[in-house]
């Protein structure tokens, strides 16, 4: 396939993943803000903006005033914010149009339909009453694209490039949340979860849609170390770093099989994957959670760049 098409597919699925994750972060932030007094709520919104890497753009426009509706409207629908859900849906759709020949009619129509629906839904400012519906729709849309993709796409190179985009983005997202919230999870802070800790922990889980799964696995017991372990090492949870890297490994392996040879990205992944899997949550905490996440994010970025080079995404 064309390198440009591979690039388009890769980014189509990165944008879709990022838009979905962004909606989840808003949801977690919103819930958190509801249970806070005004100042804490504003801290919470600020942390959402920081996690999304949108702080500079936001403050350039509004200064350090982080009131809820202003923040989530900026994140959801600001046309001048390239990281807004609406901008990303548009980017996704533009990429889908450019690789129209690489995706099935079902995938294209779903992406196109979603974009049209989102554009209409976000045409006017979103208030707190409507926010829940909006976030629901975004999540449902993401599910629809996944369904269309699972049900109709050939399992060939195109599919593998799409999945690489999805899981690189997802791993990046989970790691960013950990990066911003790592202090909440540090065991030194409190061994016995106060109710405040409980709320914060749950919030971290909620922002990766993991609260139910975690509670189910741990019989409802909240604990910082367990949460960190769950988000990093638990290969059963589809948003954990370990799960994402397992997927990346199998997608890259399939590419190697289809192409008959490995590329540089394979060895980067092998090293990263080995590092990830040879660690336990204890060794990670010994080394320092923050340090670990920083390294992980850097490797993740390096892997993405190497894939783009190896498969000639750009000239």
């Amino acid at each position: 396939m064309l390198g440009r098409s591979a690039n388009g597919i890769f980014w189509l699925f990165r944008y879709l993943e990022r838009a979905e994750n962004t909606a989840r972060l808003i949801e977690a932030g919103f819930r958190m803000a509801l249970t806070r007094d005004l100042r804490d709520a504003s801290d919470e919104w600020r942390s959402v903006v920081v996690t999304l890497g949108l702080q500079a753009g936001y403050e350039a426009k509004f200064g350090p005033d982080y009131n809820g509706p202003q923040v989530f409207n900026f994140i959801l629908r600001d046309k001048n914010n390239p990281g807004s859900v609406l901008s990303m849906a548009e980017q996704a759709r533009t990429n889908a149009r450019a690789v129209r020949t690489g995706i099935t009619r079902e995938v294209w129509e779903t992406v196109n339909d979603n974009w049209m629906g989102l554009r209409e839904m976000l045409a006017r400012p979103v208030n707190e009453t409507r926010l829940g519906d909006v976030l629901d729709t975004i999540r449902r849309q993401a599910t629809q694209v996944r369904g269309a993709m699972e049900g109709t796409m050939l399992r060939n190179e195109i599919y593998n490039f799409a999945r690489l985009g999805t899981f690189l983005e997802r791993a990046d997202n989970t790691a960013r949340i950990l990066d911003v919230k790592y202090y909440v999870l540090l065991p030194s802070l409190s061994y016995v979860g106060s109710s405040l800790d409980n709320v914060q922990w749950e919030n971290v889980l909620r922002s990766v849609a993991g609260e139910r799964a975690y509670r189910w696995l741990n019989a409802g017991r909240m604990e910082a170390r367990g949460i960190a372990e769950f988000l990093i090492c638990d290969g059963r949870f589809p948003r954990s770093l370990s799960f994402c890297y397992g997927k990346l490994r199998s997608n890259l392996e399939q590419l190697a099989r289809e192409y008959g040879s490995e590329v540089g990205a394979h060895s980067i992944l092998r090293d990263a994957d080995m590092r990830l899997h040879s660690q336990t949550i204890d060794t990670i905490f010994e080394q320092g959670l923050h340090q670990f996440i920083g390294d992980f994010l850097a490797t993740n970025t390096r892997l993405a760049q190497q894939i783009q080079r190896d498969y000639r995404f750009i000239e």
Partner: protein, 477 residues
């Protein structure tokens, strides 16, 4: 707008209001349908088009919005007999066009014989000297042709325009049929209509049959070259590539490698054998033509001339779309086929000729005047619907450069009903059949694209100026 409908030939109803044979089956079906069906289906169709992304971009439109070409749910129907005659005429004309292009770029017998003035070629930007003495692979110049036909009576089809450059619209032909079949499935069990859906397969086969000398192997690699997603016909480029299983490439995906054109794939540079380009001649090769072009491929013309790649349509075919050349088509057909033309031209005055110019100037208010190099309904004067001021302004342009114009009578184009809020109402139509040419012969898809002027009385069917489209049926015997 003049209301010429009253005197026009209506394809569905005769002068007494009786249904013509072509519409017999359709009309019976329609009578049995519940009221409101067409309206409901029309709304469904629009939603369907938006979702599938069948849109076109309007150049210079303020909001850069993608627009839909309005689709009318009443089919345009042609009988098997009418089509037989039409396709003979189209075949003859396309055969002549290819022979003509070959001659223009070789010995120019037609000029030597005095039947075509040399001045039409000299200094004509559409005539490419780079093509002189070169024969494209398989001897084919126009792999894809669209012949624009208008009708004025039962058996009176005339050619309004030849589109040998890069005719567009075939995706609408295909999607209109898909839409009709989805909206009215039972209608197709009652009326037997000839299939159009295998056009992409036939196109792929036709292109593959024109592989260049450098090709070796069993299956040539075909790619569609598009200017990109902002081009007005991007949907069609993607659609055709998708349907053919071909790669959809942009200029930046291609480069010259070892005497071939290669595309950048995820496995490295791989040769392309046949390029179905939807990029105009002047943007094709910055080394040869427009140096600023970023849509083309540097050096592709050298590779082409050396037999390393096939370009479809061949560069330089646009010369036959020239409206001054068009006016010579009856002579051209006769010169190369030795036969009388089956399809007539619309009567045309060449303003380059003093007598013709005088006539045109005296009758501007009744004529349609077109630029010889123009297309898409731009830069023309429709006398009967223009104000005195517009006519005067146009007259000045015409007097300054008479060579640049031809004139034609305002034809009373045939009408076909469209669905309006007030029920069925006649509107003027034209027809663009699509023709494939390969060394194996000429292949005409039954029907084509019917464009319809949605405004009452209007004769302008161009989608850029408020025209719509219809599904076009050729009845099966």
């Amino acid at each position: 707008m003049t209301n010429s409908s009253a005197s026009s030939y209506d394809e569905m109803l005769d002068a007494s209001g009786a249904v013509r044979p072509a519409y017999d089956g359709y009309s019976k079906w329609l009578e049995e349908q519940p009221p409101g069906l067409l309206r409901r289906k029309g709304i469904e169709a629009e939603a369907f088009f938006r979702r599938t992304g069948i849109t076109f971009n309007v150049y210079g439109a303020e909001d850069a919005e993608e627009r839909l070409i309005p689709f009318d749910p009443v089919p345009r129907i042609i009988t098997a007999n009418q089509w037989r005659k039409l396709s003979r005429g189209i075949e003859q004309r396309v055969r002549a066009l290819n022979a003509f292009l070959h001659d223009l770029y070789h010995r120019q017998e037609i000029v030597r014989s005095g039947r075509l003035p040399e001045r039409l070629l000299k200094g004509n930007a559409a005539y490419l000297s780079q093509m002189a003495g070169f024969t494209p692979p398989g001897g084919v110049y126009t792999h894809i042709v669209g012949i624009d036909l208008v009708r004025t009576g039962e058996d009176d089809f005339m050619v309004l325009e030849d589109n040998a450059r890069t005719p567009s619209g075939v995706s609408y032909m295909l999607e209109n049929r898909e839409t009709m079949m989805a909206m009215f499935p039972e209608l197709f069990t009652r009326v037997r209509v000839r299939e159009v859906s295998d056009y992409p397969r036939r196109l792929a086969r036709s292109l593959a049959a024109c592989a260049p000398p450098a090709f070796s192997g069993t299956k040539p690699t075909v790619a569609v070259l598009t200017p990109g997603i902002y081009n007005s016909a991007y949907f069609e480029h993607a659609f055709l590539a998708d349907q053919m299983g071909a790669d959809l490439v942009e200029g930046s995906d291609l480069r010259v490698e070892n005497g071939r054109i290669a595309m950048r794939t995820t496995r490295g540079w791989q040769p392309v054998d046949v390029i179905y380009r939807r990029v105009d001649d002047e943007y094709l090769d910055p080394l040869t033509f427009n140096a600023d072009s970023v849509l083309g491929v540097s050096g592709i013309m050298d590779v082409y001339r050396a037999g390393g790649v096939t370009i479809a349509n061949a560069p330089g075919t646009g010369i036959s779309d020239d409206k001054a050349i068009y006016s010579f088509m009856p002579e051209i057909v006769e010169f190369y086929t030795g036969e009388k033309p089956i399809l007539q031209n619309v009567p045309t005055w060449r303003c380059s000729e003093p007598d013709a110019l005088k006539y045109v100037l005296d009758n501007l208010a009744d004529l349609v005047v077109k630029e010889v190099h123009g297309s898409g309904g731009y830069g023309m004067l429709i006398g009967p619907t223009s104000s005195k001021k517009e006519i005067a302004a146009f007259e000045a342009k015409l007097r300054a450069r008479p060579d640049n114009y031809i004139a034609q009578p305002t034809l009373s184009l045939s009408t076909v009903p469209i669905f309006t809020k007030a029920g069925l109402a006649p509107r003027h139509v034209d027809l663009r059949p699509f023709v494939l040419v390969s060394p194996n012969g000429i292949d005409i898809t039954p029907g084509g694209l019917t464009r319809v002027a949605l405004k009452k009385g209007s004769l302008v069917v161009n989608s850029s100026q408020g025209g719509g489209t219809k599904d076009s049926w050729v009845l099966d015997d």
